[in-house]
């Protein structure tokens, strides 16, 4: 029984995800609070080289197996279940991301251990683990206690600063050989890239981003005009993309891109966590929303309670007038 703090080191297509570093920072705090080591779990095939980036952890458990070449949730869950049963860590921190979310769901079910989901923070209180979790689209925060000798925690992006987790170092790497089935009931086949020819929103200095508040596909023109004047482009939150009003390549958020423009104008976006994680790093965030209680105002630098359909043209006019 190790009782250690483990972080699932998420990596995708050859890169360690930013959120992994955030989890290492959080994990280190928890390990310190409990007086135990922090270990990273690296699953993959030919990915062992990434261990060098995980210096924030004391050691890295590396499992290399063909079935783990891509983040196949079934294969990952199988491997993790074996590891957890054998080593019994105190907690496994799993990123809440598209890559790792399924594992987060399957693993506690398989092991019948507690899961706390949507954690924006975790702390040690009286020797036990307490998590602060965001529910109801970010509108409420619950504090939960997570008792048990082995628990799984789903951590939201943004819990800590990734930069602090990027520690160069040489953690000791432990190769773990696991007997895993060559193929399971879920088989990765291929990646499908988005249609080419559209712009790369991650490269824009200005993004005018539209959400449900834009109301109609027609009104997106209002955003396009302003974005054009400011030398930027239009992006969107999930509901607009789901409607087919803009292509997938324009999506910001958990299933879309993470953007860090100089200006992010959130036009009619409520600010649910899945969206916020994709844009909170923007230098200046201006949010316009009809709802004064919209969670976006917590992450924005500037806010306006108003109707984007009314305000976008007025802002466009003001910009045009200034430009002369």
């Amino acid at each position: 029984m190790s009782g250690n703090i483990w972080v699932l080191a998420e990596h995708w297509r050859g890169h360690v995800s930013d959120i992994t570093f955030e989890l290492l920072v959080l994990g280190k705090e928890l390990a310190g609070g409990l007086g135990c080591p922090l270990e990273a779990v690296l699953l993959g095939h030919g990915a062992k080289g990434l261990a060098g980036e995980l210096g924030a952890a004391q050691s890295v458990l590396s499992v290399d197996h063909p079935s783990l070449a891509e983040p196949n949730p079934e294969a990952y869950a199988t491997a993790l279940a074996v590891l957890l049963q054998e080593h019994k860590p105190r907690a496994l921190l799993v990123p809440l991301s598209n890559v790792s979310a399924d594992v987060l769901g399957i693993l506690p079910a398989r092991l019948r251990v507690p899961l706390a989901n949507f954690c924006k923070d975790v702390g040690v209180v009286d020797g036990g683990l307490q998590a602060t979790c965001l529910v109801y689209g970010g509108k409420m925060e619950t504090t939960v206690s997570v008792p048990g000798s082995t628990v799984v925690l789903g951590i939201l992006p943004g819990s800590r600063a990734a930069a602090e987790g990027r520690v160069a170092g040489s953690p000791s790497v432990v190769d773990v050989a696991l007997q895993l089935p060559a193929e399971g009931r879920v088989r990765f086949e291929s990646y499908v890239e988005p249609a080419a020819g559209d712009i790369d929103i991650t490269q824009q200095t200005v993004l005018v981003s539209v959400g449900r508040g834009i109301q109609t596909q027609d009104n997106i023109e209002l955003a396009e005009e302003l974005a054009g004047l400011l030398g930027g482009a239009v992006s969107a939150s999930r509901p607009v993309i789901d409607q087919g009003w803009l292509p997938l390549t324009r999506q910001v958020g958990k299933s879309g891109a993470t953007v860090k423009p100089k200006l992010y104008l959130a036009a009619g976006i409520s600010g649910a966590p899945e969206h916020v994680e994709g844009m909170k790093g923007a230098e200046t965030i201006l949010a316009i929303n009809m709802d004064a209680q919209a969670p976006i105002f917590a992450v924005a630098h500037y806010g306006v309670v108003g109707d984007v359909v009314e305000l976008l043209p007025l802002i466009t006019d003001a910009v045009k007038a200034k430009k002369g």
Binding site: Q215, T216, Q217, D218, Q243, G306, D307, E310, P313
Partner: protein
């Protein structure tokens, strides 16, 4: 030229396609002489494949299914123009078009997204905007005059003022209802609102083809209305007025129903002395389809405007019964994206060009849809510095000087 006004009892409430020809108004349709005045007067006559005369022709031939399979009548904004001009006085927009639009709606393979959202929101939240019902009376806090909300104070009242959705939630609509409250207060009217218990009257949902939604809303509103005692129902919503006058009276609403514009016009003797502030505007009045063509209230808004000191009235080319619809009725309010995709010109753009041509500063209206639609057109066409849109009641409130 037949000018159709309808007494409440004449409009059949439960006409279906099956019993259509058993009802007097339904049988009348068969007397169509195929003159084509309907198609000629329709503002979207160039794009609507099935003008009323062609629909009647197909009905006679037993080929109505072909009409139901077409989506071109989504462009019918139920402006009552065809009915007003029909040489036989047939109840086209009252009887024929809603039935046909309903059949088209239920057969649509995909309901255009914006319309779908408006209808789903109306069913769930009682307003097409999808706002919480709890916020429906939020505007009242800044009205500047006391507003009685019946759920909180259920004593009997003289006037139950049914505010409606765009007036309650849209910022420009809220300007309208704050103005209305001021004028009601200035006249010493004993009035109250339903607050969060009020739901959309559903007339435009009905005329888009969602009759089931209209029935559900009628049931809900009638239950709420049944809780309170009031002598008359006055509404700011022109379409709501039609709903109360016809659909709701058929469902058992017993009190007289009025729209705010004619209601104030009837009290002009008391109101005129209170209009003390001089407004130096040249105003052109746009006749709302429901108030004007459908219910004959052409002179009332003009009398109100004429009573405001300093207001000069000019007429557009198409005025009174010839007014050109803003495009908001019959579902049009939520089909702009659909119309754009089909390349249709916006009716509001057409109308606004006429308004600007009069040289007026103010385009006066009396239906909540018109405000946002015309303001949008003014902006798009670049006329928004030349002309503003004001509801007649906003101008009255401004002239009250308080």
């Amino acid at each position: 030229m037949a000018h159709a006004t309808t007494a409440p009892s004449e409009t059949p409430a439960q006409v279906t396609l099956e019993n259509l020809f058993e009802t007097p108004r339904g049988r009348d349709l068969l007397t169509c002489i195929q003159c084509g005045l309907c198609a000629g007067t329709c503002p979207y006559g160039e794009v609507i494949e099935w003008a009323p005369r062609r629909i009647i022709s197909m009905l006679r031939e037993g080929q109505i299914e072909e009409v139901f399979a077409s989506d071109s009548l989504l462009a019918c904004v139920t402006c009552y123009a065809c009915m007003a001009k029909c040489s036989r006085g047939l109840r086209l927009t009252e009887v024929l078009l809603p039935l046909v639009k309903e059949q088209i709606f239920v057969r649509l393979p995909e309901v255009p997204a914006e319309l779908q959202k408006a209808l789903s929101n109306t069913l769930r939240y009682g307003n097409p905007q999808g706002e919480s019902a709890r916020k429906r009376a939020a505007w009242a806090a800044s009205a500047g005059v006391p507003i009685r909300v019946l759920p909180q104070d259920p004593r009997p009242v003289d006037v139950l003022w049914f505010v409606e959705c765009y007036t309650s939630f849209h910022p420009r609509g809220q300007d309208n209802c704050r103005a209305t409250a001021k004028v009601l207060h200035a006249l010493g009217v004993d009035f109250a609102i339903l607050g969060h218990e009020e739901k959309c009257a559903g007339e435009c949902a009905r005329l888009a083809g969602e009759t089931g939604l209209f029935e559900t809303l009628t049931d809900q509103n009638m239950k709420v209305l049944g809780k309170y005692q009031f002598n008359r129902l006055v509404t700011s919503g022109a379409h709501a007025y039609d709903a109360f006058l016809h659909g709701y009276q058929a469902a058992g609403l017993k009190v007289p129903v009025e729209h705010t514009t004619p209601f104030f016009a009837a009290r002009l003797d008391a109101l005129k002395p209170l209009l003390t502030k001089k407004l130096g505007y040249t105003v052109t009045y746009h006749d709302a389809c429901v108030l004007g063509r459908h219910n004959g209230f052409f002179e009332e808004p003009r009398r109100l405007l004429g009573a405001i000191p300093g207001v000069k009235l000019v007429e557009m080319t198409h005025n009174r019964v010839n007014s050109i619809c803003c495009g908001g009725g019959g579902g049009g309010m939520w089909l702009d994206t659909f119309y754009k995709a089909k390349g249709y010109e916006r009716l509001a753009d057409r109308r606004v060009k006429e308004a600007v041509a009069t040289g007026a500063d103010v385009l006066a209206v009396s239906c909540p849809y018109e405000v946002s639609r015309f303001e949008d057109s003014l902006k798009v066409l670049g006329f928004d510095k030349k002309m503003v849109v004001r509801d007649v009641v906003e101008l009255l409130a401004e002239a009250l000087g308080s």
